[in-house]
Symmetry: C2
């Protein structure tokens, strides 16, 4: 920077002004400084910049590499952050890299706010970081923690899916839940409520799972094993999310069970996976773009308005009927 200043015949402060695009420099000098900087190959060092101004204008996003819905969210976070003049840093959780590690990385890189996509840490810890930095939790409600919360109305989504299935004539509807996955508790509850409401309390069945294809596969195998022991297959399966639904589909199809002729399968998320299935996955759509925008806006507004209390945004999900749901086979109980 000093080199640029010298070579352009101005002070360092002026160079700073030019690079911050601030008023206080004539168009002529501005061009000259920019030209010289380009020649020298100078680029402002953001570490020093962060250090010098109090603020970093950087949002940290924690996500899980393979959760397709989360990567859908990231695509929505970037443009909204850019629009509001914020930088985005990504930190992934992965096997061997837990959430605390990912969060520490973001925090120590001076992120002013954290956007946590489907965090799984305990409420106490999240409350801690909520006090250290503005924090937004996406898809996971954290009772008692000082964090904003963006999610879709899981209850409504599940209700729509269940109504769809019941209208088609299904009664033996099982739910593979998402374990500790974000939104799972709410979806599980809504499934139970819907079964009760339709007088199917006795048919209720929740199979423990999680938000991976593996869980779906295992569920499929479990149900097939039961069938081989003489029990009837359910006529419909409501999966915890799309990835899980994929797994179920895979296990069933491989065993010759036809979807949706023999069994209907419904997912959740409408991640970009779901329309890629050979027959298209019937699923509950969460609007990733909208959720991302809300998350960014919550973070930014709270940063620029420190008095603000954390808020909650609830978006309406919407059932998308594709090819994996249909009427139950004739003669199904």
């Amino acid at each position: 920077m000093a080199d640029v200043a010298e070579k352009a015949g101005v002070s360092r402060a002026l160079v700073s002004i030019v690079f911050r695009n601030q008023p206080g420099a004539s168009e002529e000098t501005r061009q000259r400084v920019l030209r010289v900087a380009d020649e020298i190959g100078y680029r402002p060092d953001s570490a020093a910049r962060l250090l010098a101004r109090g603020r970093s204008r950087t949002l940290g996003v924690m996500f899980t590499v393979h959760q397709t819905f989360q990567t859908d969210l990231i695509e929505g976070i970037y443009p909204e952050a850019e629009r509001l003049g914020y930088d985005v840093l990504l930190s992934a959780t992965a096997p061997g890299r837990n959430e605390a590690k990912a969060v520490e990385a973001l925090l120590s890189h001076r992120c002013e706010a954290l956007i946590l996509l489907g965090p799984d840490a305990e409420a106490g810890y999240l409350d801690d970081i909520g006090h250290r930095a503005v924090t937004v939790s996406v898809s996971r409600r954290v009772p008692g923690a000082r964090v904003d919360f963006v999610h879709s109305a899981e209850g409504k989504g599940v209700r729509q899916a269940m109504e769809h299935l019941v209208e088609l004539g299904h009664r033996r509807i099982v739910h593979v839940d998402g374990g500790r996955g974000p939104g799972s508790a709410e979806r599980r509850r809504a499934y139970r409520a819907a079964m009760r409401r339709h007088g199917l309390e006795s048919e209720q069945r929740v199979i423990p799972g999680d938000h991976t294809e593996q869980a779906g596969i295992e569920t499929g195998r479990l149900l097939l094993a039961e069938r081989d022991r003489g029990l009837a297959l359910p006529t419909a399966i409501l999966a915890g999310n799309d990835r899980c639904a994929m797994g179920v589909l895979m296990a069933l199809t491989r065993a010759g069970v036809e979807v949706p002729r023999d069994v209907s399968v419904v997912g959740y998320d409408d991640s970009h996976l779901s329309h890629l299935m050979p027959i298209g996955l019937t699923t509950v759509r969460q609007d990733a773009t909208l959720m991302a925008e809300h998350a960014v806006r919550f973070a930014v507004e709270r940063l620029e308005n420190p008095g603000l209390e954390p808020r909650e945004a609830v978006l309406d999900p919407k059932l998308v009927v594709r090819g994996t749901s249909g009427p139950p086979p004739d003669g199904a109980a």
Copy 2:
């Protein structure tokens, strides 16, 4: 930091020593400093830390959100970087956020080295950044640019796939290429060479595509439309990557074409998608973990040894035969 120093009754320098885990502090003081820091909620500011020491020990990784193979790579990058004492920052390309933007973000956050996963920018630009920072390109050869290069032997992979198909009896094998996608040029060339070598030059056909499901779907539709006009379907399709193969499968299956009975489909990458297909995708496996480790090691070694010239690592891919490949239908030409 000053607060911690004061409250612990030591100098700031001592606090610095403790937090850097350096010799020069007694165990007793060490514990005291740590305890006080914890009480106050002090955490070292990495921006200031970066600024103060010359080096940042941070690797920047550019990737594309939805390329599953790249997210597989990221999972491998983290542990290796941590092992070598480096931090990792992620920056994604996405619609509206091109590679230059993603790279600038990393560079201005003081990443010492860049690991670019399947970069698509022109060689001149990559050479530029190769001169600005240690740069590793994964999966894309950039002739003439000052970058390390980690990839798998695309030629070998394609050759294995082609041999597998030819041995099964296929002759009408088309290739949906990956357009400008990483490795595509090499795969395309290898396909052509293999066709020639097996005396199938006249059957050669490359359909332009890219590394997305959409490209696969469009190819599927194209082939189906041709069939409806009386042309025969190919008996095997070699896709540019797994995602493209998925798309092909989807289009064909939806139209009632059975895989592999009517058509065999082979992918490339063995991303975690491929074993999830209902029948399992036959594909060419690239070892993501190994590639990630090489990339990190190249970057780090060149950082710590500035004299080193950029290198190239070629890993051997391996055909994984699953359920989407089989003998061609009887009577196929």
